[in-house]
Symmetry: C2
Subunit: 548 residues, 2 copies
């Protein structure tokens, strides 16, 4: 007799306890209808993830525990009495706080529900505290193992980071001689991470000498996007199942003690560009919808950044929910307006033009600004125009800046940096071009005007201005940003790789000095391990720089 197990790769919403419980009930029903006796949901599916300081509120801890008990009862009402359901939720020790451990003793937990009751519990052992993770700051770790039986099959549990640590609970779990290890996860998407994940899962299956079922969440939450990619591997590392990326899905498999799991559904992987594009679409869509909004507005400069953001927004929300505004100044080229119009026609987004000359003249007659102050003024007049339209009509403003310009501070704070969400803020300029070309090659009418892809990048804030007046070519700049920011390489290390010394000094200075702007930049989907924002923490006042 084989046990049928379902992994439910779902999209919860932070704080929405009743909505998330409804998702669990809905997918439990589906799993049961598909013949499953056991269904597993992602890490902290009941609360959403990551909940940050919310976990420190006793009232939220209590609400999470109450929601778990209610869920157990509701599953019985749903006629799912015999189904075994594994859900992640927020528990707490209930003990008083001690220094270093926050009040209330919050715990990242998993519950096993059957017959209207919680029949087993597991508390996460290893709490990641790097990159986007701050779990050691929040949670009290667990120390116990957890296993339970379903139809004669012995199942053990672990949560996410537990299997990323060598010598972690995996070695203890191996002692338990389980027939299946289920790992529930909230593992955010990162460029290229799916390969690492598969290798890890294969390695751990061998170590515990049992098949391993890895279930991950999908969907955007603030700056993170979860890609799903749930996997079932056999003891020998062979892939039995693999779910899609970025969509809700159930995968089903059959477990019999001592026998390998037969291969059923194994979805094809997306290629790297497709994967990043999907992450950006899902990240934007969920940010807008989970904030109870419907539509977005953005400035269309005719350039590649705003064109790519418009294409992503149209794919995420539909053209009728995207509002583009051309805001030409006396320094704008003719193609900046014609390319913006062309983009609007290709995508079908709502288009209007608001020239900024009258506002520019009003400011200049009061303040007579020159140079950089005059350039920034134009960017800010545009930012204000977008915010005014947003306030008047209720659209979320999208900032269209990319990672390269954000890194070196080549943007105007309160100008083009204005927005509620910055979809491509973690996408380097060279990748902006690649993604645009990739998107244009997909089925249907190419959304992005060819001329936006091929023209020389320019902020058009003074006559004849080009990005290369102030910055090295993006083909040179992007690898330097990667080396310094993502790899934490120093100036000397970069110099040994043949990069010009004066260029290193210039670029590192720009990156160090732009910290203040980045701290006030709107959130945006992260696709790399050291995206700017909360997970890269730099002092604003820092006088250290290596000199070569």
């Amino acid at each position: 007799m084989a046990l049928t197990v379902a992994l439910a790769q779902v999209n919860p919403r932070v704080g929405d306890l009743s909505g998330n419980a409804a998702i669990v009930r809905n997918f439990s029903k589906k799993a049961s209808e598909l013949g499953a006796s056991l269904v597993a949901f992602p890490e902290m599916v009941l609360t959403g993830y990551p909940i940050e300081d919310l976990c420190l509120r006793k009232s939220f801890q209590d609400a999470s525990k109450k929601a778990l008990n209610q869920l157990a009862k509701d599953l019985v009402l749903d006629g799912l009495k015999g189904l075994t359901v594994v859900v992640g939720y927020l528990d707490s020790t209930g003990e008083k706080a001690s220094l270093g451990v926050p009040a209330g003793g919050p715990q990242n937990a998993a519950a096993v529900i059957r017959n209207g009751e919680v029949i087993a519990k597991y508390i996460k052992h290893h709490l990641p505290n790097y990159g986007v993770f701050d779990e050691y700051r929040y949670f009290v770790p667990g120390t116990e193992n957890c296993s339970f039986e379903v139809e004669g099959v012995k199942v053990s549990l672990a949560i996410c980071e537990d299997i990323w640590q060598d010598g972690g609970p995996v070695s203890q779990i191996a002692q338990l001689k389980s027939d299946l290890l289920i790992v529930i996860n909230g593992s955010p998407y990162e460029y290229g991470k799916d390969d690492t994940r598969l290798q890890l899962v294969q390695k751990r299956a061998k170590e515990v000498n049992a098949p391993l079922a890895y279930v991950n969440m999908v969907g955007g939450q603030d700056e993170l996007v979860f890609d799903g990619d749930s996997i079932v591997v056999n003891t020998d590392g062979s892939i039995a199942n693999r779910a899609s990326q970025f969509v809700e899905e159930i995968i089903l498999f059959e477990v019999e003690p001592k026998k390998p799991i037969s291969q059923s559904l194994v979805r094809k992987r997306s290629n790297d560009l497709e994967e990043v594009y999907q992450a950006l679409v899902v990240g934007l869509r969920d940010y807008v919808l989970k904030n109870n909004m419907e539509s977005v507005v953005l400035g269309l400069s005719g350039g590649i950044d705003s064109a790519l953001v418009a294409a992503i927004a149209v794919d995420a929300l539909g053209a009728n929910n995207v509002y583009g505004v051309s805001m030409p100044s006396p320094y704008s080229s003719e193609h900046s307006v014609s390319d913006a119009k062309d983009l609007a026609t290709r995508t079908g987004l709502n288009y209007r033009s608001v020239p900024i000359k009258p506002m520019f003249d009003a400011y200049q007659s009061s303040l007579s600004l020159k140079g950089l102050a005059e350039e920034n003024l134009q960017a800010r007049l545009r930012g204000m125009t977008l915010m005014a339209i947003s306030n008047q009509e209720g659209h979320l403003v999208l900032a269209t800046g990319n990672k390269s310009e954000l890194a070196v501070g080549y943007s105007t704070i309160y100008g083009d940096a204005v927005g509620g969400f910055a979809p491509i803020k973690d996408v380097p300029k060279t990748l902006v071009w690649e993604l645009s070309k990739w998107r244009n090659k997909q089925e249907g009418n190419p959304p992005i005007p060819e001329s936006s892809i091929t023209k020389e990048p320019s902020a058009e804030l003074r006559p004849g201005q080009l990005d290369t007046d102030s910055l090295p070519d993006y083909e040179k700049l992007d690898p330097m940003i990667n080396a310094y920011v993502e790899q934490d390489q120093g100036a000397f290390e970069m110099a040994t790789k043949g990069i010009d010394k004066s260029l290193i000094e210039k670029v590192l200075k720009l990156i160090d000095q732009a910290e203040y702007k980045r701290r006030q930049y709107p959130p945006g989907t992260k696709i790399s391990s050291k995206a700017f924002g909360r997970d890269r923490r730099q002092p604003i006042t820092n006088s250290w720089r290596e000199s070569l």
Copy 2:
């Protein structure tokens, strides 16, 4: 023979290795001239504190270790060969990273220098990871004790959090039977914290059965301000020395084994209002100077917030470095201009007026904004004006918002929230009034116009507008913000304290929804444990709220 010990309460600068080494040399010389054979400096004095992600750079770790060895040599050149010097710095294990422990194994360390060499080392055991601290994220903890002898006196070392943990290294140090425990600290100022600190130091001195010398840094670093308040207590808890708050200072005392330290210098404590005001002045001054700027510009509305910020700025930087701009609109009252002028006259700051009507008309003829969009437009026209003046003339823009309006979102993003630093962003409105009254009672001409203190708060963005149209009285609001934000109380808990239920629902909703604005707010001096900003981490998308 008694040993003369000096505690050097100094103001280092993050990343400025050579500048900080110069401070150590300078104060070591002074200490030696005063007769000291041993001088102790604060935690991480060589690198400044907190250095955040800088510690992950191998090149910075290497630079810190190199700076330490150079310092040892330079002290000999300074003729201080025999002086024993205790300094905090960044060390590293040099090992490879493992998951959960960042690359390079950075360590929060103390070195004991004598005769041009490091004669002993101590690595911090307990790494705080709450509130403003993220040390467990960064550092690899130490496990060893450290003691050394100077002129027959046995001295042990600990770093900051080590003594905040019960059962920490303190119990091991007690075994060492030292004649003196030196604790070096980077302990930021917090309203009322000096009392807690004294009690803790007294308790630990008893536990280790030795006098305890606590040396802390002073000065502002980004959002933190360190208040000094270095203390020497005897085994019985009696205070032998206590330094001033917020200024660099050396305190000197004599240690003889088995004998109590005689009382010498014990500075009087500031009262609570004086202490907060000093923290705000020092926080602003160091933010400006450590960012290599000299002057600030701010909007003067005639209201109490901008008046208090102007007074703080004048006390921090001198009136000639403060630029105030009145920006009246057609909705501005007459007193908004006259009170602003009066403030300028009283303080001597540089004053000008830039009416915003021409810019307002230019926008309105293009966009015909109504309601909130029209109100926000005015605030944004002012923000842009200040940024334009900043870009043109080189002053740092100060945002004048207080904690109460920031908490409930009663401010315009890209409008009055514009700025490089927000001096009173952690000061609730009721405390703004108290501080203003306190400042006006000090020696000299009262800087703040009486009418700014007594008038009803208004944003003046529509005719007859008052804050109380949208918000409860600040006397009611501020305790609610304190309960919900600082104490993490829930709605039910607040309701049991007699607060009206509909008011709780309204205010909690406002606070939850304002998260997005707060995330884009400029940095500002923190005076409380859960100031908004990086140390209070909320999901932007959060649909959870208790309903009563």
